[in-house]
Amino acid sequence: MHVMVEVVGEDTRELDVESGATYADLLAACDVSPHEASVLVDGQPVPEDGEVSAERVEVLRVVKGG
């Protein structure tokens, strides 16, 4: 499956993932920890252990500090 992953504020990558891959797998492919980012599908956060079903996702990094 072909997925466009936009790491917000950074870059957009096109990834090919196997069926059954999770959103956590997309994060791993972008070298982003699931503890420092949320995955959004159509602007809605999704659980990282969910199976990828969207062709386009956004990765929103947590901003440290105040």
Partner: protein
């Protein structure tokens, strides 16, 4: 993925507990953890009455953590006449960055009807962080100067406003990083200080007569969940990283914790559970031989001859 509690679409998965939660139940869960922490730390004194309320000063930077803290405290205690909330923002003299987050702080406190005050390093100390990082007389990271100055002003203004408690938005990741740093640096004295300053239940802390006690009600909540909460509630949080952020050791520890947490979900929680017990023991031992003196220059409590703030201001020629 559905919510464990109601079957709606889940917005998050907490690997450390196994929970999948929808927006509504995630919000409830986070708020419950914050309120439980407030109870466990015993920060609402039994002596507080509507006639004789306590004042809580919130350190409000306008970033996600302090915005979420302010929102939840305001909602929890809006109807409680025993608690008066006051938010304090500090402008460190970081062009652009801090101006925007202060707008967020202003907008939030307006919405919530919470009194809000802003102070600046420039007026208080005659320095601005943009210049401090250029000058850098001590050859340190920006955060090392900034942290000393910020803590000093929070304490000073907590006293100025006769606050009974100073609250900050530190989250679980922040605290687990600090715990691990203290451990790896072998700094048992710092663990004891941490316990007495903010970690221990209020009635177990000693030497607090020297400083206004602190509390961190978000310290059981992972950073990512704080960010998610701010986003789901569309709170006016400022989301840009400080241009001077450069704590390299903390950054290393953060990466290490992310890896550990992935391999062993719950690591941050267990680090804190154990650290708190160690810090408690350390605080009990250290109390016997620790003494505070007054800074030769400004008179504030310090463990040496001069406080760190005065040393740094001297080095900066301020």
């Amino acid at each position: 993925m559905d919510c464990d509690r109601c079957g709606e679409a889940a917005v998050m998965h907490a690997a450390y507990s196994g929970a999948h939660l929808c927006e509504k139940h995630f919000r409830h869960s986070l708020e419950k953890r914050v309120r439980r922490r407030i109870r466990e730390d015993g920060i609402v004194p039994e002596t507080a009455t509507p006639e004789d309320p306590v004042t809580w000063l919130i350190g409000l930077s306008g970033g996600k953590d302090s915005v979420v803290l302010t929102q939840i405290l305001a909602e929890t205690f809006a109807e409680d006449p025993r608690i008066e909330l006051l938010a304090l923002s500090i402008h460190e003299g970081i062009e652009g960055y801090r101006d925007e987050s202060l707008d967020a702080a202003e907008s939030l406190t307006d919405d919530l009807g919470v009194r809000h005050e802003t102070i600046a390093y420039a007026e208080e100390f005659g320095v601005r962080m943009d210049e401090v990082v250029e000058d850098d007389p001590e050859d340190m990271a920006a955060c090392a100067y900034c942290g000393v100055f910020r803590r000093d002003l929070l304490s000073t203004y907590a006293e100025e406003f006769t606050a009974d408690l100073l609250l900050t938005g530190h989250n679980l990741d922040d605290e687990a990083e600090t715990a691990l740093m203290n451990f790896l640096e072998g700094d048992v004295a710092q663990m004891a200080k941490h316990f007495d300053a903010s970690l221990g239940p209020l009635d177990e802390r000693t030497l607090t007569d020297r400083h206004v006690p602190r509390a961190k009600p978000l310290r059981d909540v992972p950073e990512k969940e704080v960010a998610l909460y701010a986003r789901l509630r569309d709170l006016p949080a400022h989301i840009t990283e400080c241009p001077h952020a450069s704590e390299s050791f903390r950054g290393e520890i953060q990466s290490l914790l992310y890896k550990l947490e992935e391999a062993h979900p719950g690591t941050r929680h267990s680090i804190m559970a154990g650290y708190e017990q160690l810090a408690r023991q350390a605080a009990r031992n250290v109390d016997r031989d620790r003494g505070y003196a007054s800074c030769d220059t400004c008179g504030r409590p310090t463990t040496g001859d001069r406080c760190r703030r005065c040393q740094l201001l001297d080095a900066l020629g301020a």
